[in-house]
Amino acid sequence: MRFSHTRTGGGPSRYKLSLIALIDVVLFLLLYFMVAGTLAPEEKELPSTLRGEHGASGRQEDLQPQIVVVALGADGKAEFRIGARAVHDKASLATILRVLPKEGGVFVRTSGRVRVGAAAEAIQACRDAGFIRITYVPTG
């Protein structure tokens, strides 16, 4: 009987761990994490219902909603009006809204003359104040 001879002295390379595959894996993992890192700032969203200026339905609701008007102030900056009060920043708006009854929800009536950022601020302030039913009303 004749056995194949094993290489003991000259060529143990066949039994060595291949470094090429290892390097490939590490580089691809690196590439993945680098790309995933740049994509990390994930988008969020502000959900709201929509309603026309004159109302989508003729149904009379028992609970009156709060109304936040986002419009351009005299100084050329966006301002948030609730009744007679007018504020310029999101935190002040949220503070005012926090003490108001929330059952009827809130209408955010946004003028076309402000920036989208101001409209988003108003919706966010409503959410921060604890309103669940937020309705966006486009005005002009």
Partner: protein, 145 residues
């Protein structure tokens, strides 16, 4: 009894390296394509509000509306004229459509209102305004566009 020679065994050897490469490339492709599906091609400077996380239970059919800083409105990545908005929404939306509006924070709200009005006319009851989340740079004070 005759055993194979070392040379014969070497010829039958299977190199795993290209297979590992292909498998990893496929994994990376699928992971990235699932991310890009949401990130979208259009680069829009979203309002920097914390908002809320996108729900895992995605709507069966999501319609993405982009409004860039110049006010150009794109529906599913196709620029649409103002007069064609309603017909564009009607053609891409299904019954259970979820409308996500990605509007630039410096864009005039007039453009956003235009989209909102078109959706209201189509009896769409809700939408989602995309925001950048907490990590975004602070937005300038919202004033005249």
């Amino acid at each position: 009894m005759r055993f194979r020679k070392a040379e014969e065994m070497k010829a039958a050897e299977f190199d795993l390296t290209p297979m590992i490469d292909v498998v990893l490339l496929l994994i990376i492709f699928f992971m990235l394509s699932s991310q890009f599906a949401r990130v979208n091609a259009k680069q829009v400077n979203l309002p920097s509000e914390p908002g809320e996380s996108i729900s895992e239970e995605a709507a069966p059919h999501e319609v993405v509306v982009d409004i860039d800083a110049k006010g150009v409105i794109s529906v599913q990545d196709n620029a649409i004229a103002d007069t064609d908005l309603e017909s564009a929404f009607r053609s891409v939306s299904a019954e259970a459509s979820d409308f996500v509006v990605r509007a630039d924070r410096d864009c005039a709200a007039e453009r956003l209102n235009l989209v909102a009005t078109a959706l209201i006319r189509l009896h769409v009851r809700s939408w989602k305004l995309a925001v950048a989340g907490d990590s975004a740079a602070p937005a300038p004070a919202g004033g005249t566009p």
